[in-house]
């Protein structure tokens, strides 16, 4: 019988290596948030109110170029729609827990926490204390994210523009997306998205962002259906 604290500690341990990526990512967001015209308080509290790194950076960038509200909210929603998949995936394991647990774990359900805890759940599907694992991995990430954001907000003005820190974002996203490309489904997705960025770059309001993302998802899904590769792959 595994105790709840064993399970919590296991979640923290499993999440630890990922924090190497979270720290600089959070600090970059803190820097970019203030640079893009958000106040230090808005930048810092976005990390707990929104708590979804990539969409926080997009939020800041879209605010900086005065994007209309609908496009901004649409971009955040499109970017975070992947959480629907995480939610659907872990519901099998925690949908019977009390409501307060489901609310708390939903709030903590980030890419990284999901990634480590779903592995644990698949290995031990009948562990009654399993919700403490996601609590551990989620709270660790939450804490590191708040600290990293604060560091970025405080250090922001000390970093010269020649450092080109904004380039860290495409670097991080390349490191995340490139290893996910495993078949013609993903190739169809990124090829279509790439073409759409060039084709629609001139459109106002950063419309290319949503068009390229949706077209890429559609192309990949159609490819998967056509070649019968649908599902989790």
């Amino acid at each position: 019988m595994i105790s709840r604290w064993d399970e919590f500690r296991q979640g923290v341990r499993d999440g630890l290596p990922l924090q190497l990526g979270i720290l600089p990512f959070g600090a970059v967001f803190g820097v970019l948030g203030v640079e893009s015209g958000l106040t230090p308080a808005q930048t810092f509290f976005m990390s707990s109110l929104l708590f979804a790194g990539t969409s926080q950076i997009i939020f800041a960038q879209l605010v900086a170029i005065a994007t209309p509200i609908a496009i901004l909210l649409g971009s955040v929603a499109a970017l975070n729609a992947r959480h629907l998949l995480y939610s659907a995936s872990i519901s099998e394991y925690i949908r019977d827990k009390p409501l307060k647990w489901r609310i708390l774990l939903a709030y903590l359900l980030t890419d990284e926490a999901y990634a480590v805890s779903i592995l644990r759940y698949q290995k031990r599907p009948h562990n009654p204390m399993m919700h403490y694992h996601l609590l551990g991995s989620g709270l660790l990430l939450w804490s590191v994210w708040q600290i990293a954001t604060l560091v970025g907000v405080l250090a922001g003005n000390a970093i010269p523009e020649e450092m080109a820190l904004g380039f860290v974002i495409p670097l991080i996203f390349m490191a995340i997306t490139l290893p996910l490309i495993k078949s013609r489904v993903e190739v169809a997705t990124i090829a279509t998205s790439t073409a759409c960025v060039f084709a629609f770059a001139h459109l106002p309001y950063n419309l290319w962002l949503l068009i390229a993302a949706i077209a890429g998802i559609a192309a990949g899904t159609i490819t998967a259906v056509y070649f019968k590769q649908t599902g989790d792959a």
């Binding site: 600089p24 995480y86 890419d111 993903e186 060039f198 001139h202 649908t230």
Partner: protein, 104 residues
């Protein structure tokens, strides 16, 4: 205004994290919908990568003077060899500095 947008964005995001943890939604998506969901981060993040490298002020930047392309090619190689976010940042950023310094 910004505060309201942050809070609404937070509520939207929380709703998407929570919706399948309620009994009112089906626990399973169709296979095609599952595939589409799986492709969301790839499509969105890759779109941002392409835009960050090739676009400048709402237009495709002059390719002949765009040092970000060289740095991105180097970074893609680092990702391929190491799959490490830290190394990609740690080596990719200096690549851009070097390209900017040498080609300025």
């Amino acid at each position: 205004m910004i505060w309201a947008l942050i809070i609404i964005s937070g509520l939207i995001t929380f709703a998407m994290r929570f919706v399948f943890l309620t009994p009112v939604m089906p626990a399973k998506l169709s296979p095609a919908a599952t595939t589409a969901m799986r492709l969301v981060p790839i499509a969105v993040l890759w779109t941002i990568v392409v835009a960050e490298i090739f676009l400048s002020n709402g237009a495709v930047a002059d390719i002949t003077s765009n040092t970000r392309i060289l740095a991105a090619i180097g970074a893609a190689f680092i990702v391929w060899r190491t799959k490490s976010v830290i190394l990609t940042i740690g080596l990719g950023l200096p690549l851009l500095w070097a390209a900017n310094y040498l080609l300025a």
